[in-house]
């Protein structure tokens, strides 16, 4: 047994360097990913039909004025020049100004062509900073709801493979995954808000307004967690060290909670990371249905209004969040299982 402490000491003495190396490598990779996403979104936005200047200036604006504004804003320059300017700004923390939204954040349409409120256009960063915490709150609550439902069902299914808890987990997962989220959102709003008057459903005026959309989102995520847990718990429970644990005199609860669940957590953790990132994109429909003032609703309006800087800003922030979440997930995984090396 003497070799074990030595190995551990070696591992721990390398930890800070490992964390630094890991973070530097992954952050550099992440920056590259964000750059590529920005370039892709930037180019795509400029090749799709729809002139944002006409939306900014209003439908009645003369063509000459449209061209004048477009030239002033550099929107008639080659795409690579526009991108160069844009990414230069991003590097300095400037995501630009929304084409159409005023500083108060309202969703707006075209005004007259001499609209002079352009100076009061909202900063993209401000719009994202106002809405991202709302989406984060929604996504976190959805994740909590999903875990509350999925852990007991998934673990029970994994502990009795082939028996009724396993089948229940499968059937429930199948039902949950088959429910379209827009339909479920409307049905739950009708049931819990209109009929039972338990929860508010539309807009946001306090934490209670997050519950219903989070419930809908959690139904979307829960099946993945249930299936992952069922499979990984069943897998762990079939391994030798679990049998040996019983011989060592551990109770069943000790085996499950101290050994089986901990070892099943790695695949779950990876899944949660991916699911959380997916949630940031998956809130589009839910936020629109519930009129929830988060990134999803902001994105839909930005797309509909051809608000290029806002769409680009959201894409960059979402890509960066995706990268960061995955770094955190990988760090968590190595903390749980030191054998893992990323």
């Amino acid at each position: 047994m003497a070799f074990v402490p030595v190995a551990l000491l070696q591992t721990y003495s390398e930890v800070p360097m490992f964390v630094v190396r890991f973070l530097v490598r992954r952050l550099l990779q992440g920056a590259l990913i964000v750059f590529l996403v920005s370039a892709l979104i930037f180019t795509l936005l400029r090749v799709v039909p729809g002139d944002p200047v006409r939306l900014m200036a209003g439908g009645m604006a003369p063509e000459a004025l449209i061209e004048k504004i477009a030239l002033e804003m550099g929107l008639r320059d080659p795409i690579y020049q526009q991108f160069g300017r844009y990414i230069g700004g991003v590097a300095q923390g400037d995501l630009g100004q929304s084409f159409v939204r005023p500083a108060n954040g309202a969703a707006v349409g075209g005004a007259s062509f001499d609209d002079n409120t352009r100076a009061a256009r909202a900063e993209v960063w401000d719009l994202i900073a106002q809405t991202a915490p709302m989406t984060l709150q929604l996504a976190l609550l959805a994740m909590v709801f999903a875990l509350i439902v999925a852990i007991p069902i998934g673990v029970a299914g994994g502990l009795r493979p082939g028996k009724w808890p396993d089948r229940l987990a499968l059937y429930l997962s199948s039902v949950f995954i088959s429910l379209p989220n827009f339909w479920l959102g409307i049905v739950l709003a009708l049931l819990l808000s209109v009929k039972l008057n338990l929860l508010p459903a539309i807009g946001y005026n306090g934490f209670a307004y997050t519950i219903l959309p989070a419930l809908v989102l959690s139904v979307e995520i829960a099946p993945f967690i249930i299936r992952t847990l069922t499979v990984s718990v069943a897998n762990v429970m079939g391994q030798n060290f679990i049998d040996i644990a019983a011989v060592r005199g551990l109770t069943r609860n000790q085996i499950i909670f101290r050994h089986a669940l901990k070892n099943s957590a790695i695949p779950l953790l990876n899944l949660l990371g991916v699911q959380f990132s997916m949630l940031l994109g998956g809130v589009l429909v839910i936020e629109f249905i519930f009129d929830y003032p988060g990134l999803g609703r902001l994105t839909i309006n930005a797309v509909m209004q051809r608000d290029f800087p806002l769409i680009q800003g959201i894409a960059i922030v979402t890509a960066a969040a995706f990268v960061l979440i995955n770094i955190v997930v990988d760090l968590c995984a190595t903390a749980i299982d030191p054998r893992l090396d990323y």
Partner: protein, 534 residues
Amino acid sequence: MRSTNMEKDKMDRRKFLGYGVAAGATFGAARINPDFFFSSAYAQDARPLMCLSAENITGNWDPMAHTTLSQFNIEGFVMGFLTRHPMMPEKPDEVVYELATSIEQIDATHLEIKLREGVTFHDGEPFTAKDVKATFEYGAQPERSRQVYPGMADSFEVTTPDDYTVLIDTTKGGYGAGMFIFLASYLPIMSAKDIEGGPNGPLSQRLNGTGPFRFVEQRGNDTVMEAFEGYYRGAPSVPGVTYAFVGDATTRMLSLLNGQADVIERLEPEQVETLEKEPDIKLNRAVSVENKYLWFRCSKPPFDNPLLRKAACHAIDRDLINQIMGTAGEPSSNFVSPIKFGYIDLENYPEYDPEECQRLLAEAGYPKGEGLPELEYITSVGFYPKTKEYGEVITALLQEQGFPVKLNVMEVAAWNERLYDRPGGGPGHMIDCGWTSASPEPDLVLRTHFHSSSKRICGIVDPEIDAALDAERDAPSLEARKESLQTNLMPLLAEKVPAYSLFTSVLMHGLRADVEGLFIYPDGTMDAASTTIG
């Protein structure tokens, strides 16, 4: 043991994560509103009237800088008008005097308006004749989009012999001063002080009126207004109005059903059926001042040819469209709504007639549609009810007669971008749109769209139509004007059809049953001065 002690001082992965989780939890806890745990989300007493809109605003509060319905509705709460025309079918000529106490036509080109005393703007400035003068003159500036008739600011003169009398002289323009009678219910009266600041001044930053509610702020998609204690008819009963843009029709309906919203607009016919069965909901149905049109791009081929436009009209069976619209549409046969001044069912209005369509196609040089280029018909989804559904019917009917039509269905912002005329013709060849204005004045539609000085969507330039429009505008009396409209201009438009009016919209609003005393005008604006909730 040395290494073990060092281990305590070092940041390991577990500690790193532990601190991370603690920081996250601290941040998350700060976002939770503790009130949620102690008070019900529904526990509210005197609360503002919550109205949900189907359309966004423009981001510029200058009432003369837009033609956006949702912003008209907000102005309806905040701004004051000289008169209001309820335009109810049973009393179409009713005039309600608000900031004006009387409007008298002295002779063909002179009008006298007497004003109410003791009225103040929300910023505390007293309302006087100079505000009316400034509003009329500012609204008639060539670069403003709201007021397009009866003529620009150099065609009339406004004088103010005292603080509460306004005289209008239209001698310079050569048209009747009676034109300003209907304008009185359309133009919101702005403060002369605000107007002095010009389009770059306070006008664009906030609303300042004499109406029952004071503009407080724009909070995201919510326009927040509060009751104006100094309102000349007495402070409103509700503490305020919140007017919010909610893009999805189902979301608006759910909000009404669960009591979060008090009023929602633009109900779809299916929603009407659902809401009719709900005991807590009541419906408001009003034939509106809005007609829905199929606009032809008249400034470019092939619809620069009136024969072809008329052929297209004869290909369209409006009975089918009215069936699709159900409760949301009302048949009409003119270019303005039946509740507008001068409306008449036109005898020569083009009706479904395939034979006549073929005859006109041949006469235009396109027998059975041969030789016609592919025609793009642009419509929108998300704002007007059933546009896609009846757009598909119109497309099929036109194709049946040989018009090679392709329907292009767009979301509202993209459609809006393509709506107006441009040099060389607007995008596509036909486009769907409605037009409304809170006044019986027909020229707010006819002159706006069919005079060569405005031609907003269709882009038509036709000296005969210009002459007919000028003739009715210049008529010496309302009776003479009505005759000119009904016997000259409107039949001429039915011959040249720069746009084809499909039907008159019926505005369907859903209201909570406990909302009393809310009056909804035929353009969708509301008077909530006497409204109570519960």
